[in-house]
């Protein structure tokens, strides 16, 4: 829980034995990010050494030999000025294109990603698997499977950071952010909160366990028999009485939710919004902001009654409806 799962290191020798210059690389993008990192390190070293050695040579060569020495004049040279304006600019262009291309590629999760859900709260990570298991400050993932984390915070801003995967994203209250990774090396890796979040910020850390498919399946099966997230959501759906209005047919006072996920909705206020996680979240917590014409505006807010974990379960349920009846809805 507090980073103590690994043995605490004692003594000077042991401290130096643990000396490392390179973090573990355990995701599909880590090597690419590292390549850019090494390129940048190369550029930095080249120019630092260049400037230092020029200064050093000039320091020796042109040192003042007598108090009334008069140095030789030099002229400002336009060619020189342009050279050291244009060459750094070109280098910057190369870096920009390289870094941005990589970033854009890394920003989009593959379509076939497995979704997992994160709720950050002072000072722990709640993680839910779609199959149902929930864990705190631990994340078990299968190797070589793209995984998309959908994240939100219950209080302040946190940041979900797995150095070995080279991924990081702020976790904000009141909205969903996401990141994805595909772990490619079995092992145990750090999970950090990288946005200062209060007193125990430095203890909001945990472990990511990358497992083989078989081990992961065994781990999923091994825990207490839990319902899937969608099933948990379905239970909440009736527990909070959502199904009295959203009956799923024409008799309900609320719209049917089947096949809704991913569909653009025209709202009362004239906006058109695609029904995504944030849309469903708004519909539960601030219904008037996503009021759809043709239905009564009477839906009460559930803010304060459901927590962020439950909202995610409800979203999973609504999404599961979409998955079932997408063809009918069209």
């Amino acid at each position: 829980m507090m980073g103590l799962t690994q043995p605490v290191i004692h003594g000077t020798a042991a401290v130096w034995a643990a000396f490392q210059l390179h973090p573990p690389t355990a995701s599909s993008i880590a090597d690419n990010v590292d390549k850019l990192y090494y390129f940048l390190t190369g550029i930095t070293l080249f120019f630092t050494i260049l400037i230092f050695s020029i200064i050093f040579v000039f320091m020796i060569k042109y040192r003042r030999r007598s108090e009334d020495e008069i140095p030789e004049g030099t002229h400002t040279s336009m060619a020189l000025e342009l050279t050291w304006t244009i060459i750094p600019s070109l280098i910057c262009v190369v870096i920009f294109i390289w870094a941005s291309a990589l970033y854009v590629r890394n920003a989009r999760p593959p379509a076939a990603s497995t979704e997992m859900f994160v709720v950050g709260k002072q000072w722990m990570w709640h993680i839910q698997h779609p199959e149902g298991p929930r864990e705190i400050d631990e994340l078990h993932v299968p190797v070589n499977v793209p995984i998309k984390m959908t994240m939100t915070s219950q209080d302040v801003i946190h940041d979900f950071y797995i150095p070995a995967f080279r991924v990081k994203k702020d976790v904000l209250p009141g909205r969903y952010t996401s990141l994805w990774f595909e772990a490619n090396k079995i092992g145990t890796y750090h999970l950090f909160c990288a946005q200062y979040c209060g007193t125990n910020h430095s203890q909001m850390i945990g472990w990511v366990y990358v497992m083989s498919d078989a081990d992961y399946a065994a781990w999923l099966a091994g825990g207490e028999k839990a319902e899937s997230m969608a099933q948990q959501g379905e239970r909440l759906f009736s527990q909070f009485g959502c199904n009295t209005c959203h009956t799923g047919d024409a008799t309900g006072t609320g719209p049917s939710l089947a096949g809704l996920y991913g569909k653009p909705e025209k709202l009362q206020n004239g906006q058109t919004r695609v029904v995504d996680e944030t849309f469903i979240r708004d519909a539960i917590l601030a219904p008037s902001t996503v009021h759809v014409p043709g239905y009564a505006a009477g839906m009460p807010t559930f803010a304060g009654q459901v927590n962020e974990d439950q909202v995610l379960q409800l979203i999973a349920y609504v999404k599961s409806l979409g998955a079932q009846e997408r063809t009918n809805a069209k």
């Binding site: 206020n269 601030a286 219904p287 008037s288 902001t289 505006a297 807010t301």
Partner: protein, 233 residues
């Protein structure tokens, strides 16, 4: 030597300061200083206008409701009052430039102050005070009304911006009244001549700036929400 210089400085009726070469340079410095100060002010209000704009685009419905809580008749009257006060301010500078009697300068200045005071009186007595009575002053017993539905917090946010923006504007007005008081005293002592009216001029710049801020505030706060559009509510 230096004592003499100090004496000279204090006795100097033109207000010439020792660090300058001549009065011309001193006046230029004063004008430039005020323009730069106004640049600062623009960024100051700019930060608030930006925040307002972003939240209005996020919560259009709530901001419409909030805007309808304000009394356009007071806002409009106050707009007229301020525009008039800019005119009287300009006239006071004009009378100094053209060498009118000091009574004329003082007259226009006091007229300006009265208009400024009218603005503040209307603002506090008939707007803020009533808002407080009606429990729509954030932080001072703000009550969500049922007809706002789930928009309550965002309506409160609008009111928050309303009080913040108009409050800071009113603070600038009060500072302006203080400056005008000093100008009246200076005028009464006969300090202003056709050669020397820079304090009037740069105070005028400030006063006009504060007016212009209101010209932006009035439509942004009072006139949104399709209140006067043909196809509106």
């Amino acid at each position: 030597m230096s004592d003499l210089a100090v004496h000279e400085h204090e006795a100097n009726p033109t207000g010439f300061a020792h660090q300058f070469e001549d009065l011309e340079q001193q006046h230029d410095a004063g004008r430039l200083g005020m323009w730069i100060f106004l640049a600062t002010e623009i960024l100051f209000f700019g930060g608030m206008f930006t925040s307002y704009t972003i939240y209005r685009s996020l919560h259009p419905a709530a901001f419409d409701i909030g805007s309808h809580l304000l009394e356009v008749k007071f806002g409009a009257t106050n707009t007229a009052v301020l525009i008039c006060s800019s005119l009287t301010m300009a006239l006071s500078i004009h009378s100094a430039q053209t060498g009118k009697r000091k009574g004329t300068i003082i007259g226009w200045l006091i007229f300006t102050m009265l208009l400024g005071a009218t603005f503040l009186f209307l603002k506090f007595r008939f707007e803020w005070y009533h808002d407080w009575l009606e429990h729509i002053m954030p932080g001072f017993g703000f009550v969500y009304r049922p007809e706002w539905g789930a928009n309550g917090p965002q309506v409160q946010m609008f009111m928050c911006f309303y009080f913040f923006l108009t409050g800071l504007h009113a603070l600038h007005m009060i500072v302006g009244l203080g400056i005008l008081t000093v100008l009246v005293i200076m005028a009464a002592r006969g300090r202003f001549t056709t050669q020397y009216y820079v304090p009037l001029e740069i105070s005028g710049l400030y006063w006009h700036f504060v007016d212009i801020v209101w010209i932006f505030l009035f439509p942004l706060l009072y006139l949104i929400g399709g209140r006067y559009s043909t196809g509106g509510h």
